[in-house]
């Protein structure tokens, strides 16, 4: 039981290294606008791996999940509502046609 966690940690480490390789390799391919999505998706997967296994979120009580997700959720609020301004500023041209 005690020993069984070590291979898991090593496996997660290998997965993280592989994903790092993938994200670097993919960045040299022109995917157009999708490249941002792919890069961030890979980063999210890596972050989730670290959270679940290295930070033991997998075995943590529900409250810890709430706190961990809460942090990212609030960051989402900050980015989303700020971008609601930045993205729509040009919709009503200043000066008008």
């Amino acid at each position: 039981m005690a020993r069984s966690a070590v291979p898991l940690y090593v496996a997660v480490f290998v997965a993280l290294i592989v994903l790092t390789g993938v994200t670097v390799a993919v960045s040299y391919v022109d995917l157009g606008p999708a490249s941002v999505v792919v890069a961030l998706a890979i980063a999210c997967v890596k972050a989730v791996l670290v959270l679940l296994f290295f930070m033991h979120l997998r075995e943590s009580p529900g409250l810890t999940w709430v706190v961990a997700l809460g942090g990212f959720f609030w960051l989402g609020i900050l980015i989303a509502l700020t971008m609601s301004d930045v993205l729509t500023r040009g919709w009503l041209p200043v000066g008008g046609p």
Binding site: L81, D85, R89, W91, L92
Partner: protein
């Protein structure tokens, strides 16, 4: 609620105030009660320094011409009034002083979860205050407490850096207090004290702490970026390289709007305690009052853009923010209705804390309703950046928060000091404050709608009569604030000794001696009943 009543007679009884003496025993204390008092002391200092600047501002505004202070001095004074009152008085006031003292008592704990961190928070506060004091005495700062770029980074020649550092530092004090309280409320409750048996003050402190931990870091990083920009003469808010000053306002208000709820939510919690205690009634709609605190904390994060309706924000974002702003009004209204309903069919005792509570409800109602004016887009265009806004937020901050703070200080004074304050003087002071407050700030609503912009050192002559009224009110208000300060100090020596539960209130804090012993309770209390379990016929209304 019950505690195991083990009567131990000691002569004289040892409590947190006399268990040890000397400066060291205070400066190195980890007792949440003593840390609370350290805060109480520093906050009172900040309040009177901030108040001094307010008095000078009002005196200057007696006449339309800027003849008492120079424009530069006036600008520094309103900036320092704002910075000191917001960051060094309002934000820490109820949570760090009263909350620190009462929270562990209320939940039957021996201390907060991290007592040393708690003391560290106070030292961080003092360090932040030291930087800000340095800024004040070394020439002052004139950017307004909002630090809008590029004025604060490229134009102002005053002490922006030390002030920014002070605010950066004091933010961590606030974060650590919030962190401490959340962990304390989650992990340190007495046996049987379930979430729905918690006093509403605890709920409101919990909601406050949520905002403190999630909003304050954004202020910290924003102030840091601002400082770097000022230092390097180039930065991300600098229009010369394509930076966007409106982005600074987004980041700033992402903290500073929720910060308004940091200030008012604990006040609301205090009012729930006062209204129930002095009408000897259970709270009307416990779960609605409790959850409205959480709702205010969460929705409070979604509305900051209503400070930017004329700032060059997109019209569409403004519409979203306006809509969300109306949503946050509802839980506040629900609280007011529930407090009012609580008084119905109570048995109301007119003690000083209740005077403050009634004052709070009335003034908060006016403050809240005028918030609806500001959330209405087309209306906000006219009244934003005028005295209407000044009046609105002083009704919330001073008419609301400071009233609740003073109400709470009086209510828990017997527990804190072991002495009663003089009741009649207390009532008179509460009445003077209510009167002075309204005379100071009500005329400012009219001034604002007439179009008098805020932060004006001189103003057109037709605004003078209303300004004179406001200044007259301020002088009454000032006397009102000095009174409690004097008689509370007086009561420390000459006040009647307080019993353990002078108000016959429910709540664990009243079931331990006044003042409480170092570890709060002789034996850890076990809770078996709902809060506000006052006697009386139970009536069920569907």
């Amino acid at each position: 609620m019950t505690t195991a009543a083990a009567v131990v007679v000691e002569q004289p009884p040892l409590h947190y105030l006399n268990e040890s003496y000397g400066v060291r025993s205070w400066l190195l204390t980890t007792d949440h009660k003593r840390v609370g008092l350290l805060y109480l002391l520093s906050l009172t200092g900040a309040f009177f320094v901030g108040g001094f600047f307010a008095v000078m501002l009002r005196l200057e505004l007696l006449t339309p011409a800027g003849d008492l202070l120079q424009a530069e001095t006036y600008n520094k004074f309103f900036t320092m009034h704002g910075v000191i009152m917001v960051f060094f008085f309002l934000i820490p006031s109820i949570p760090a002083a009263l909350g620190n003292f009462i929270l562990p008592l209320m939940i039957g704990a021996r201390d907060v979860a991290f007592p040393r961190l708690n003391l560290a928070s106070w030292y961080i506060y003092v360090l932040g205050a030291a930087f800000t004091t340095y800024a004040v005495v070394s020439g002052g700062v004139d950017t307004g407490w909002t630090f809008y770029t590029p004025y604060s980074t490229m134009s102002s020649t005053t002490q922006v850096m030390p002030t920014a550092i002070g605010i950066f530092i004091v933010g961590f004090s606030s974060i650590l207090t919030g962190l401490n309280f959340i962990v304390t409320i989650h992990r340190m409750r007495a046996p049987g004290l379930t979430w729905f048996r918690l006093p509403l003050f605890v709920w409101s402190l919990y909601a406050t702490s949520l905002i403190q931990i999630l909003a304050t870091p954004v202020l910290a990083i924003t102030v840091m970026l601002l400082g770097a920009e000022r230092l390097l003469h180039v930065g991300i808010f600098d229009p010369a390289i394509g930076g966007d000053p409106v982005l600074f306002q987004h980041l700033f208000w992402f903290y500073s709007h929720p910060a308004v709820y940091i200030m008012i939510l604990p006040g609301m919690g205090v009012i729930s305690e006062l209204v129930t205690c002095f009408s000897r009634k259970t709270i009307f709609g416990y779960s609605y009052v409790a959850f409205s605190s959480i709702a205010i904390a969460v929705f409070g994060f979604l509305v900051w853009g209503h400070h930017l309706f004329v700032a060059g924000q997109s019209v569409y974002a403004a519409m979203v923010f306006s809509f969300l702003s109306y949503l946050v009004a509802i839980p506040s209204a629900v609280k007011v209705f529930n407090w009012t309903a609580t008084l119905h069919k109570g048995t109301i005792e007119f003690r000083t804390p209740l005077f403050y509570a009634l004052g709070f409800i009335g003034l908060f109602t006016i403050g809240g309703l005028t918030g609806l004016f500001l959330a209405a887009l087309g209306m906000d265009v006219h009244v934003t950046d005028t005295y209407f806004v000044i009046a609105h937020f002083h009704y919330i901050m001073v008419g609301g928060m400071v009233m609740a703070y003073l109400g709470g200080v009086h209510y828990w004074w017997p527990k804190i000091s072991g002495r009663m304050y003089p009741e009649n003087l207390g009532r008179i002071a509460a009445f003077i404050i209510f009167l002075g407050f309204n005379l100071t700030f009500f005329p400012q609503f009219i001034l604002g709608y007439l179009g008098m912009p805020r932060r004006y050192h001189s103003y057109p002559e037709e605004f003078q009569v209303l300004n004179v009224m406001s200044t007259a009110g301020a002088s009454i208000l000032g006397i009102g604030y000095l009174l409690p300060m004097i008689y509370l100090l007086w009561s420390l020596r000459y006040g009647e000794p307080a019993s353990d539960n002078p108000w016959n209130a429910t709540g664990l804090e009243w079931q331990t001696p006044s003042p409480p012993p170092r570890d709060n309770f002789e034996h850890t209390p076990v809770v078996t009943t709902a809060p506000y379990d006052y006697p009386g016929r139970e009536v069920v209304v569907d």
